[in-house]
Symmetry: C2
Subunit: 205 residues, 2 copies
């Protein structure tokens, strides 16, 4: 082996990471191999030493983005007492920061619709990650009986993701902020209504 053992792995990851950012920012067809490699500080000749094809990269990048999201949620669950976890999650998800920086945010609101149109292989990989997200919410975030947890997790995710999609359409002004606030209230009040947990009424900003 020339170059250190980890060198290639590191380069590989840098490419995947940058791709995942660009894809979330610009969509599934929003960046080409050449530009991407340039952004990573390489030239695009070496690309095919790392990936069989562009699609292989895209799948990896999707997975990477989803994994980072799940990782983030896991940390929230870890660092927060059970009854406050949902509020903590919503506070990190339904923010202007997340809305305005899709590149570092959740992949579903940015790429969901496009994923649904990709090849079955790509779509299924994404669906598996989505199911992991649901499990995570149901098991680690929501403070409700397991009986209803899965269903409620799905609805919670749907509301959060739909809110981000709508807020991004609305831009970044007052109207958009209003949408974010409505989503927050909806998620938290639904949770408050179901178990005996109380309040958590965030002030709209």
């Amino acid at each position: 082996m020339r170059y250190s053992k980890e060198h290639k792995a590191e380069t590989h990851e840098r490419i995947v990471k940058q791709a995942s950012v660009r894809l979330r920012e610009r969509g599934a067809h929003g960046i080409g191999v050449a530009d991407l490699m340039k952004e990573v500080g390489l030239t695009h000749g070496g690309f095919y030493a790392h990936f069989d094809s562009r699609e292989a990269l895209v799948i990896e990048a999707f997975n990477y983005a989803m994994d980072r999201g799940n990782e983030r949620w896991r940390k929230i669950a870890e660092d927060t007492p059970p009854e406050k976890r949902l509020a903590a999650l919503v506070d990190s998800y339904l923010t202007t920061t997340h809305r305005d920086d899709p590149g570092r945010g959740c992949a579903v609101p940015s790429l969901g619709a496009e994923i649904a149109r990709e090849s079955p292989k790509t779509r299924k990989a994404f669906a598996a990650k989505l199911e992991r997200m649901i499990d995570m919410i149901a098991g680690q975030i929501l403070d409700v009986p397991p009986r209803t947890a899965r269903k409620q997790a799905m609805a919670t995710l749907a509301t959060m993701m739909g809110t981000v999609v709508m807020a991004r359409i609305a831009g970044n002004g007052e109207f958009s902020d209003e949408i974010l606030a409505a989503g927050r209230d909806a998620v938290l009040s639904r949770a408050a209504a179901k178990p005996a947990v109380k309040k958590a009424r965030p002030k709209a900003h």
Copy 2:
């Protein structure tokens, strides 16, 4: 005038309609001028007699799709007694049919994320239509006091749209159906919980 008076207007609308279907099916860059015109039974030379540019068409097609959606909702409101309107809406929106046929469905779950990346002009046109949808839900569909209607309308839409996005990622199997069902329950139970003055029945877990 040669050709009948309405001829051009009709052709124009056929183009817009077909474009709106294809865009929802394949995404904002999913079809080119030439293919589109062919699908309408024309050649692509004449395109620029109808539209200044491709973008102008895209904006019209977006508007068309949104208008059709609003129209559909208006009819539901018209044909249904107030207390059943939301259920009727959800029953038409969160169906496998809608999930599996984006081309004829709501434009937000199919195009929302891509719209958010388009030019400000395009995005703002879409945002205006989104606001109309919210007004429609708040004023004609929800059976709640005006005070909270707008906020609740936003949340209701977010949940419905997010549910469709997730369900499409999940494909069309059992998992996907489960997501649809969860979305339905969430929208309807929230509506049932709110008008009742306070938090009804806190059932301890």
